[in-house]
């Protein structure tokens, strides 16, 4: 299997604080990869470095054969990386359709006009919001706004999709729907990296995962083995339960 994304001894330092300490891992094409760990472990910083919101202090990130670490976020986006955000970021003055078009117009496919519009409508259907093209996004529920954000990310047909705690803040039935949606995306062959806290989702969805704690990688591998690793349990729950 070819490598979609390769993180090589990446380090991020903010002044005296080391948020990510020489972490390496590989993500294969078509994998659903989990990036997990307790709060403050550096996983969102890691994701931000992949998407270009931050630059690594040292180390490399490769997208296929291209080096993307150090590039500006819009260059990385055009190379085929799309993401959702921890606090959902929809574009309030645009309607649902235009929000999704935003993802398609400037990515590496550079669609415009009717092409972009019809893709947006397809994706709207795909995430379960069919028929609401012209609804203002600020009037939508939280889960619907998350779906818009996901559709926007899909609109650029990314090589790697980054989901930043996309399942957070959902009630049980919404969670079920969200997990099914992601499972379908995986079945289509998408490469997805998920930063997540919801353990059920990790167990059901992910092929492999990496566990970080205090900036360091403490486990990598199949989901079952990593989650039963004593180190991982200690990181999440403390010494008594290891």
């Amino acid at each position: 299997m070819s490598l979609a994304l390769s993180v090589r001894t990446v380090r991020k330092q903010f002044g005296g604080l080391v948020a990510v300490n020489n972490v390496s891992f590989d993500v294969h094409d078509g994998e659903l990869f989990g990036l997990i760990g307790p709060n403050g472990s550096g996983k969102t910083t890691m994701l931000n470095m992949i998407s270009g919101a931050l630059k690594p202090t040292s180390g490399e990130i490769m997208l296929g054969h291209d080096r993307i670490s150090g590039l500006a976020a819009h260059h990385i986006a055009r190379k085929g990386v799309a993401r959702t955000f921890q606090l959902v970021k929809v574009l309030p003055s645009l309607d649902a359709e235009e929000n999704i078009m935003a993802g398609a117009v400037f990515g590496h496919q550079r669609l415009w006009g009717e092409e972009a519009r019809s893709l947006a409508r397809q994706l709207l259907e795909r995430v379960g919001l069919g028929g609401r093209e012209h609804m203002p996004v600020s009037a939508m529920t939280y889960i619907d706004q998350k779906r818009i954000e996901l559709a926007r990310a899909l609109a650029s047909n990314p090589r790697v999709l980054l989901l930043d705690e996309w399942l957070a803040g959902l009630n049980p039935s919404e969670l079920q729907i969200g997990i099914e949606l992601i499972a379908e995306l995986r079945a289509e062959g998408r490469t997805i990296i998920m930063v997540e806290h919801v353990m059920d989702a990790i167990r059901t969805l992910c092929d492999r995962c990496v566990v970080m704690s205090s900036g360091v990688k403490i486990a990598e591998g199949g989901v079952a083995e990593t989650l039963s690793d004593p180190e991982v349990v200690r990181a999440y729950l403390g010494d008594d339960d290891a």
């Binding site: 819009h74 400037f106 006009g113 099914e180 949606l181």
Partner: protein, 331 residues
């Protein structure tokens, strides 16, 4: 509904025809008066062009540009330098290009940073350009000013400025429908998202600033024949920058036609003050700025739109209960 070419909507067509008619009527003005009212109208048309060009950029980005005098002066000087030997339209083009280049440089230096740097930089820009031009002129030519003699009269300048204003509106409309306009909308909503969907935010802002600056430069070039003798302090007069901002903000910058609402009354106020209380111009400008910031931060059009929204809400049919659609389950 009949399909119009280029995807123009019925509403846009109506607005377009309305503007064409208004412009046609305005164009007839010089045939009726060649003195005071024509002069006033030239000022009006000048600031209509300047404020609309300013709003092209500062409206969507909320970056307050105080650089208008610098671009204007460059346009004036482009004409003044070559008027003896080079045809007028080419000189206007030079002015536009010079202004665009300056805008590009300023933009590249400051638009990657927050709005404060931009305002400060543009504040002194006209003075900077004036100083450099004065020094260069004294050093290389030994003169302090340039003579401009053309066959253009006030009414030709009026028509040219009218044409320029219409051109700016058409450009604004085209930009709104283009990728650049879409990008600016997204940037205005959330700049982080803009970057992550692949928009080069700095480049978009710089490009828009260059277009705006070029139009201001053209206005400066068109106005050069108005004065027989051009000197740096009058060509690069900082007051131009300030007046543009006052009128544009007074009118409101959410819509491209907003500034016109501010230009028309303020030109009359300015005319009055210039005639009766010429030394109090700074005080008038100060009060105008303060009044705008405290009472009409979104301009007169902002006030009107708020009132319209309230009126609509009061007269709207009773809202239907928004049914909470059960989340659709995919089979």
């Amino acid at each position: 509904m009949s399909e119009l070419p280029f995807g123009i909507t019925q509403k846009e067509l109506r607005i377009g025809i309305g503007i064409a008619v208004a412009a046609g009527i305005a164009a007839l003005l010089p045939l009726f008066d060649q003195g005071y009212y024509l002069s006033l109208s030239v000022n009006l048309m000048l600031y209509a062009a300047l404020c609309t060009a300013w709003t092209l950029f500062s409206g969507p980005t909320h970056y307050v540009s105080l650089a208008s005098a610098a671009f204007f002066g460059l346009g004036t000087y482009a004409v003044a330098l070559g008027v003896e030997s080079i045809p007028f339209p080419i000189l206007v083009a030079f002015g536009a290009v010079a202004a665009a280049i300056l805008a590009g440089l300023v933009g590249a230096a400051t638009l990657r940073l927050s709005g404060v740097y931009f305002v400060i930089f543009t504040l002194g820009l006209a003075e900077l350009v004036r100083q450099v031009v004065t020094w260069a002129q004294a050093k290389f030519t030994g003169k302090t000013g340039l003579y401009v003699f053309t066959d253009f009269r006030e009414m030709h300048i009026f028509w040219m400025l009218l044409a320029l204003t219409i051109a700016i509106f058409i450009t604004g409309w085209l930009i709104n429908r283009s990728r650049l306009g879409f990008a600016m909308q997204i940037i205005g909503n959330d700049e982080t998202v803009a970057r992550h969907v692949g928009i080069d935010t700095a480049r978009s802002k710089i490009l828009l600033f260059m277009i705006s600056g070029a139009f201001i430069g053209i206005a400066g070039a068109i106005c050069a024949p108005r004065y027989a003798y051009i000197q740096p302090p009058s060509a690069f007069n900082p007051q131009i920058s300030f007046l543009v901002v006052i009128m544009a903000l007074l009118g409101g910058t959410k819509r491209l036609w907003g500034p016109l609402v501010g230009v028309v009354p303020f030109i009359f106020v300015m005319d009055f003050v210039a005639a009766r209380l010429p030394n109090q111009m700074p005080i008038v400008m100060g009060i105008a700025f303060l009044a705008i910031v405290y009472f009409v931060p979104n301009g007169v059009t902002g006030v009107l739109e708020k009132a319209l929204a309230k009126w609509k809400a009061r007269n709207a049919p009773a809202p239907q209960a928004v049914a909470d659609k059960p989340a659709e389950v995919r089979p």
